[in-house]
Amino acid sequence: MTPLLRRLRQDLFATPADGLVTVLLLALIGAGGFAVLHWALGQAQWAVIRANSTLFAVGRYPLDQQWRLWLLTALLAAATGLSWGMLRSHPRPDRGGSLWPRNDWMAVGMVALLSLALPSLLGLALPLQLRWWAIAALLLLLRWLAGRFGPLLPAPLKRCLPLGLPLLYLLGMVLIGGGLALEPVSPSQWGGLMLTLLESSFAILLCFPLGVLLALGRRSDLPLLRWGSVVYIEFFRGAPLITLLFLGQNMLGFLLPGGVAPERVWRAAWVLTLFAAAYLAEAVRSGLAAVPRGQLEAARSLGLSTPQAFTTVVLPQALRVALPSMVGQFISLLQDTTLLSLIGLMELLGTARTVMANPAFLGRNAEVYFTLAVLFWCCCAALGLGSRALERRLNPSTLA
């Protein structure tokens, strides 16, 4: 018997009962897989996705202003390629010193495949397909350039590069919403994947500092800070998100001076932020608990002030420990944005509802939900993969 066969037998047919389970499961997987494939390739009518791909991507964003979103996508691709290349341009011992580790080649393949296959699968017009190819080419080109010539850049410039990311975010806001000589586009016209990503990235970025402050407050020796943080965290963790969104939509108008209540999209974004901060605080708190007390005492005895000790010694260690659970919270935040459809916003699920209400696509629920599920699954799985890669990178035992 070859080792492979022996291994198979040990894993799948160790006892008669095991063998039976294996056969039953194989039959189940076969039947299920066949049913899904039969549906996806035979019965499903994917025209509902092809005909509405723009709606799913950006909602009812005005057609003559959509060049701004293309520009933003290109900028994001450029930033991704640049940061990816810069990260790899300093070969690290744990990666065998390679500028092009094997995973990167797989990622390049994915980008190429997606940019070639997806637009044609969606039946986009050729000029739009060409735009996606150009964007993918830009990403890969900058990845190569930054990896090749990144180390030659002067050090001060390299230190300033990360500052470009928050600037890019603000620029993205301007491009989407208008202002600075651009025609304003009202938030009620934002929608689709763009709104989902906008709401979740806004909440993720802002809940982070708030959550860290709350976690520090909850572990503080000052009773007032501690109790204030506890009340905040337990309030937001005790209520279902939908009731908080409901509160935001119906009560915020009463809590602010007449007429200044923000647009519904922003109200929802703020509720998401405040909600996520409470959960993030608990994740950070568990990280803080994992840092030995001696670290703070040692830092203080070296003459660092308490804020200095926290920002330079305690928090970096705590956040590294808390990273997996923090990313877990970000993933559930991304999923929670679907609740915005219940308060009438046109994010992905809300867009899906309007598409399915269209008489031309009546009864196409399965195709639409299946597509959304795949999309969300990919986004969440990508976040999870990114988190694991970051974890490895930050692991002190592999630091050079």
Partner: protein
């Protein structure tokens, strides 16, 4: 604070800047807490002031007597009797009972399914392990709301009616509802029967309830499976080896030796999952099941009593969470290993 630039001989006495009084270690805590208290007070006073001013202007100051007025809406599916003439508070109570109904059945169902899944991830069968892993990874990375509308619109609403309905032993799944066998008059067992093209059974559940319950169980079970897996993994490997060297089978080892020890790790994790199930049940509104949140939304639309309705909602869910936590803390004390 004066920081010397390098470690060396201490500077001459006159060169040490004295610590200013406002940075004294006795003073700093008071200053910080005072500043925080002041900020919080100002914000709260600002919000409350606006609230009272706006509510007075709208003629909606906090009152509760609207709860006694006739509701004017119907609830399709209730355990408590309710109709449009009964007051609002009866409607909210019926909604709460509907919430409790789905939460309690959901807790039992997801614990059973989740525990089985968690145990299956330690099976000797690689295919079973892989399938469990895949299930957990798929379910956890898709939003619950999406799963719920999928179960409702795609699965339950496409069930056939009449003779074509899905018939399992003791259960019939049809678009008009889920029919379960049970005890009829005189305590004899009655299965679902088709009468004049309409199914009849001792127990009928709506498809809305069915979809919500299935979705909640399928979702929560994946998280509970992870909790159970973590708990079992926390039991030292020697326990498995010792039990099997005593001749216990895989099932005996797991149920008699490993699980009892894993429970003390599992129960706190279950608490979190149970509370999120209770909160997630409020997504019922997406599949048309009239739970507490859905009744509250209708009530608000009819009365305009935003503040009271939101307060009631938040208070009820908080009480529900606290109740679950209390129960689970009690259970946690029971399963802790008592050492001498």
């Amino acid at each position: 604070m004066a920081r010397s630039p390098s470690v060396g001989p201490s500077p001459a006495p006159g060169l040490v800047t004295p610590v200013p009084w406002w940075r004294h270690r006795r003073v700093v805590p008071w200053v910080v807490q005072g500043a925080v208290a002041l900020t919080v007070l100002v914000v709260v006073a600002f919000l409350l002031g606006n609230l009272i001013r706006n509510l007075t202007a709208a003629g909606l100051l906090l009152t509760w007597n609207w709860l006694g007025q006739p509701a004017g809406f119907d609830i399709s599916e209730t355990l408590l009797p309710f109709n449009a003439e009964l007051p609002y508070w009866r409607g909210l109570a019926a909604g709460l009972v509907n919430t409790l109904r789905v939460v309690i059945t959901g807790l039992v169902g997801s614990t059973l399914v989740g525990t089985l899944l968690g145990m299956a991830s330690f099976s000797g069968n690689a295919l079973l392990r892989g399938l469990t892993r895949t299930y957990v990874e798929v379910v956890r990375n898709i939003p619950l709301l999406l799963q719920l509308v999928f179960w409702y619109f795609v699965v339950f609403l496409s069930l056939p009616n009449g003779t074509a309905a899905l018939q399992l032993p003791g259960v019939v799944l049809a678009k008009s509802g889920l029919y379960l066998a049970g005890f009829g008059d005189g305590l004899h067992w009655i299965g679902p029967q088709l009468q004049n093209g309409v199914w009849q059974a001792p127990l009928r559940l709506s498809v809305e309830f069915g979809a919500l319950l299935t979705g909640l169980i399928a979702y929560t079970a994946a998280f509970i499976a992870e909790v159970v897996r973590g708990g079992i993994a926390a039991v030292p490997k020697g326990q498995w080896e010792a039990a099997s060297s005593l001749g216990l089978s895989w099932w005996q080892t797991l149920s008699k030796v490993v699980l009892p020890q894993a429970l003390r790790v599992i129960v706190p994790g279950l608490n979190t999952q149970f509370i999120s199930l209770a909160k997630n049940s409020s997504l019922a509104v997406a599949v048309g099941y009239t739970d507490l949140y859905s009744v509250a939304e209708t009530t608000l639309n009819q009365t305009g009593r935003a503040v009271e309705v939101v307060l009631l909602l938040l208070g009820t869910y908080l009480a529900l969470d606290l109740f679950i936590s209390l129960m689970m803390n009690g259970l946690n004390r029971l399963v802790q290993i008592r050492e001498r």
